[in-house]
Amino acid sequence: MPMLRLEKRPSPSRFWQGMTPVLAVVLTMIAGGILFAALGKNPVEAIRTIFWDPLFNAQFASYSRPQLLVKAGPLILIAIGLSLGFRAGIWNIGAEGQYIMGALAGAAVGLAFYPADHWFLFPLMVVAGALGGWLWAMVPAILKTRFNTNEILVSLLMVYIAQNILASMSLGLLRNPEGGGFPGSRNLSQYPAASNPELIAGTGMHWGVIAAFMAVIAAYILLQRHILGFHIKLAGQAPRAARFAGVNPTGLVLLCMGISGALAGLAGLFEVAGPAGQISIDFNVGYGFTAIIVAFLGRLNPIGILLAGLLMALTYIGGELAQFMLGLPAAAIQAFQGMLLFFLLAVDLLSNYRVRFGARAEAA
């Protein structure tokens, strides 16, 4: 049997760093095809329906193409925030909760003014949304810096608390008084002063997408040109060296958690005032968790995240299409997205290690 041996590269291979996401996508398509075949669907047709038809099929593209930006916006916005923390070794995995709380805070401000028509209402909601997400992220951040509590567990547990608050709000405080007793708030997208409409008809472009693009540019400049970006990268790669270089670990945790919380909160606000339209028990569709995959697929690099967000949005839209056309279960798409992260982590080996063939000198 030919033996495989791993040799650590002195520094990660640039070629493989760029190639691994592509390789992971290809491998996921193959494994996904096998999964779809096991479900009794034609794998080639399923893959084509997910990745090709939403963009290029004459019948569906007119509806699907705008959806690409609608879905990619929140994913990119959240993933950019997460990537800063992940780079610094700070694991905020509760973006879903921060997204919910941002949406709740922003929507509450909008609903409090109903039906007044002020020009400042939407900007105020944006601020409230960011603040809501920021505050929710500050809980794990402060517990970590003050009490050394594990931020992974706390931020995740806060998601379950946020979901309960969301249920309570949509059944109680924020329920539409004219909704005939149905759960869910007033429809913000039909309240002009508080709505986040499609800005250019037929593109899916709304304020959240613009915010996502701005976040990509800001993160790129921060990481490439600013000392803070350097500190973030240094803290992740060499924590000891970072401390000698005068990086304040407490400040870094508060900053990274704060930025990712605020961006997730913004994503929630833009979603609830635009595409979702109202606060309801299940208006959140798991963007906060999928954004973790987007951040890794984009290699924690702003430009990469932009592309990864678009690709992941495509699997959402294509998944819906496949559900509608082929009867492929929605859960299959979720498993498919999870698979992508597996393959990504697996092939990442190639950028950090050299694979050598031949017998090894010593047994492991």
Partner: protein, 309 residues
Amino acid sequence: MFGGIDPGLLIASLMVASVPIILAAIGELVVERAGVLNLGVEGMMIMGAVCGFIMAVQTGSAVLGFVGGALGGAALSLIFALLTQFLLANQVASGLALTLFGLGLSSLLGQGFVGIRPPATAALPFGALAEIPFLGRVLFGHDWVVYLSIASVAATWWVLRSTRLGLILRAVGENHDAAHALGYKVRRIRVLAILFGGAMAGMGGAYVSLVRVPQWTDGITAGAGWIALAIVVFAAWRPWRALIGAYLFGGISVLQLNLQAAGARIPVEYLSMSPYLITILVLVIMSSGKGKAALNAPASLGQTFHASR
């Protein structure tokens, strides 16, 4: 407020409520003692819940259901073992991937099984012993998995403390380079620990879908895996303290369910979030001040091992 609640019944039901978390936490405790941080407990639990449920419904045997649950959890953990031990992937990210994938796959597998009742898991027949007023209910009124969960705590404590196997496992977890230099198979030991953790989480998940609920719905484990992870930290990586932590948590969730049923004036949503809130609170207490749980953490926890020589 608690007047209507019988203490014997409360203790008996908190013992049942804690079983999934005890099993999952003991599994994860062994994994972490071997120096591996597997954050995919939630994913392995839900895979165990769905596989156990399918197996039990198909075979008509609840016991085989638990075997199926253990196999389901272990199968998913094998992916984690492959990623982290052979492909040297980041453990935090791999664990998250396991949870995301497990949630999707379980919902896919469970599609035809919504609304079915699984075969019952009856209490063990202790005969007259179960009739003793208070103790009977607490000690002799349970199904076999409850006793298994307590036995697993005792066994893990004994193995870690007094056996050669436990010593090797701890050595690997404290300093993998030294253990490797001594000739122990670090990777093999860790893979076995990960599989054990997966099987235990899977059984815990099966207990949720076969006994606690008992039926299949998407996302049925509702964060129990994350709470099990928190309990391992709370326990400072010691088995008996994990049992105490799980009972504490089980007590809170039973109490809040009783309050919900009794029509307490606190809204249902706030009662439902209380277990998560209290878990956070306990984590804070444990990791600060005199608790200093972090000092007990296995020294190699979460670090990738690559034998260069």
